[in-house]
């Protein structure tokens, strides 16, 4: 569990439009890496290339390499479905399966991966919900629909669903942008706990959030609207927010643009 991600020379396209250009970076295992940058800079697109979700968008195409430890996710013969079972994802808007109960939502990924005994399943669901700090709030209504929870609870349900299958990496695409401050705090605390077990990559628009939760921060930018996004720099979060090596980073974090 928890593997290193090693990206080299990665570009992503929507049809003929190049969305991100030639990105290389390393993400250490058991750490939180935050992606920040202005809208349209390609940070979400880049995140979605890390579990091969980018290519499910019509016209989506990727060039370059993503190594998970030593295995290239874009190597010949690699099944994208298998990749997504190893690299979990949490989305911007909480998206529990509306037709499933809370229990079934958490068990959904497990049921895809194979058959489990009922007791085993119940155990993993409980462990995952505890891992997502949701167990105490839902343990008496596991058979109720997941869509009946509050937004913050739904998002933690989605995190429980993602960690239930014990992924190597957890990708989070602006997981708190649809949530109120208290729910956001709950998710941020949770991220701090989850990094003991998983490699976490989080896209965020909120620079304070990046500063609070991440060990490393990557700043993305684009030279003009319609131009591909680029990685400007990646460094320890402390350095990015106190003494970045590129002027554009400092301009962005100090609020001079973006």
């Amino acid at each position: 569990m928890a593997k290193r991600i090693d990206v080299s020379g990665l570009s992503a396209f929507y049809g003929t439009h190049k969305a991100i250009d030639d990105i290389s970076m390393t993400v250490e295992p058991r750490s939180v890496t935050a992606f920040i940058g202005p809208s349209g800079c390609g940070k979400s697109t880049f995140l979605r290339t890390l579990n091969r979700m980018h290519e499910v968008t019509p016209g989506g195409r990727v060039e370059g390499k993503v190594l998970l430890d030593d295995e290239n996710l874009y190597g010949a013969g690699v099944d994208p479905v298998a990749v997504r079972r190893t690299v979990g994802m949490v989305f911007q808007r909480p998206n529990p399966f509306p037709t499933m109960s809370i229990f079934d939502n958490v068990a959904a990924g497990l049921r895809l991966n194979g058959s489990f005994k009922k007791s085993e399943l119940a155990e993993i669901v409980e462990r995952s919900l505890k891992g997502a700090n949701l167990w105490n709030e839902v343990k008496d209504r596991l058979n109720k629909p997941g869509s009946g929870l509050s937004g913050g609870q739904q998002q933690r349900l989605c995190i429980a669903r993602a960690i239930a299958v014990e992924p190597e990496v957890l990708l989070m695409d602006e997981p708190c942008s649809a949530l109120d401050p208290i729910s956001t705090l709950a998710i941020e605390d949770l991220i701090g706990e989850l990094k003991e077990r998983f490699t976490i990559v989080i896209v965020t628009h909120n620079m304070q959030q990046a500063a609070r939760v991440s060990d490393r921060t990557a700043f993305f930018n684009l030279s003009a609207v319609g131009r591909p996004g680029k990685l400007v720099e990646i460094d320890d979060t402390d350095r990015i927010f106190s003494n970045p090596s590129v002027q554009a980073t400092e301009d962005y974090i100090s609020g001079r643009f973006g």
Binding site: N51, M53, V56, V81, A82, V83, R84, R85, T86, G88, M89, F91, R93, N95, P96, F97, P98, T99, M100, S101, A108, G109, L112, N113, K144, P145, S147, G148, G151, C158, R161, A162, V165, A178
Partner: protein
């Protein structure tokens, strides 16, 4: 989710006086029109029900046979003896066959159009399916009688030979396939377009984020459909099927053209014979006297009630799992 809250509505800037007054007149006209349409619908339904009940009661009061169990239709005899047993059986059986064939195929076509077919193929295919709905039912009837009936001889033989042990597919009478089974197949083709297009629309409504949730867990395309698309579309498919069933129950000309009617209940669905409500009315209405027509209207009333019953049952099925429908997501 993040919908407009009441406070935001309260804070809306005041509308200028002239805009408000025209808005009010428009509001009133529109509210009146939609209320009127709603009332009109109820009036039409009520007048149909009253008409059917009144005329039916005249016939039923003079009927010497048991209306529900008699296997005969002699409304012009003295004393008149008629019953709906055969018609009810034929209507229900042919509709069940039609649904059993049409719904799975329609869901398959709808999924293919919405989730599998390349965009260039999906649009023309959807158009062709919709075109099927524009064929008048008498054309289906003629096609059924002249083409489908002879073509089904082989299938009937095969079913009789290998599935005959099921009783249902045991063909006990010789003769061409003017049977409830053939009617069922024909009805299936006729209801296919409506079930397909409504299902397709519902499948296209599945929120992208629900499908991505399944994809991100490592679901294959079929698993995405099973986890996200089908559960979300479930109530829509049921509604679509009910629309199709309504058409199958009431279909008249196609059935009347294909079926060779008889007043027997025969569980061997490959045997010729049987009848349906609508087919029986069409066949007898012209020659019936005033009383005979009342008797036929009584059978029409039963069809009306049957449709109400089926629709009510479908609503119950949908309502039972409302919390899980996805409508509150």
């Amino acid at each position: 989710m993040a919908s407009t809250t009441p406070t935001q509505i309260d804070q809306a800037p005041p509308v200028s006086k002239s805009a408000r007054s025209t808005g009010r007149a428009g509001d009133k006209i529109f509210a009146g029109l939609s209320k009127g349409s709603g009332i009109l619908l109820l009036v039409i339904m009520a007048s149909i029900a009253i008409f059917l009940t009144y005329r039916a009661s005249i016939a039923l009061s003079k009927n010497e046979g048991n209306f529900l169990t008699t296997f005969d239709w002699n409304a012009s005899a003295t004393p008149p003896v008629f019953g709906i047993a055969v018609l009810l059986f034929g209507t229900v059986i042919s509709s069940i066959i039609a649904m059993a064939i049409a719904v799975p195929i329609a869901v398959g076509i709808a999924l293919f159009i919405s989730h599998y077919a390349p965009r260039k193929l999906a649009a023309p295919l959807a158009y062709v399916v919709d075109l099927l709905a524009a064929v008048p039912s008498i054309i289906y009837g003629i096609w059924g009688a002249l083409f489908l009936v002879p073509q089904l001889a082989g299938l009937n033989l095969w079913l009789d030979e290998y599935m005959g042990w099921t009783y249902v597919f045991d063909k006990t009478q010789a003769g061409v396939a003017r049977s409830l089974f053939t009617v069922g197949i024909l009805l299936a083709i006729m209801i296919l377009p409506i079930v397909t297009s409504v299902s397709r629309e519902v499948f296209l409504q599945v929120p992208r984020m629900n499908e991505e949730a399944a994809l991100a867990l490592g679901a294959t395309r079929w698993e995405v459909i099973r986890m996200s698309v089908l559960p979300f579309g479930r109530s829509g498919v049921i509604s679509a099927s009910m629309l199709g069933l309504g058409r199958a129950l009431g279909e008249t000309m196609a059935v009347a053209t294909v079926l060779s009617p008889s007043f027997l209940i025969n569980g061997h669905i490959l045997d010729p014979g049987g009848g349906t409500f609508a087919q029986n009315i069409a066949a007898k209405f012209d020659e019936a006297n005033e009383f005979g027509r009342d008797a036929l209207i009584a059978s029409g009333l039963v069809l009306f009630l049957l449709t109400l019953l089926v629709n009510g049952a479908a609503r119950l099925i949908i309502a039972r799992r409302k919390d899980f429908s996805g409508a509150n997501a």
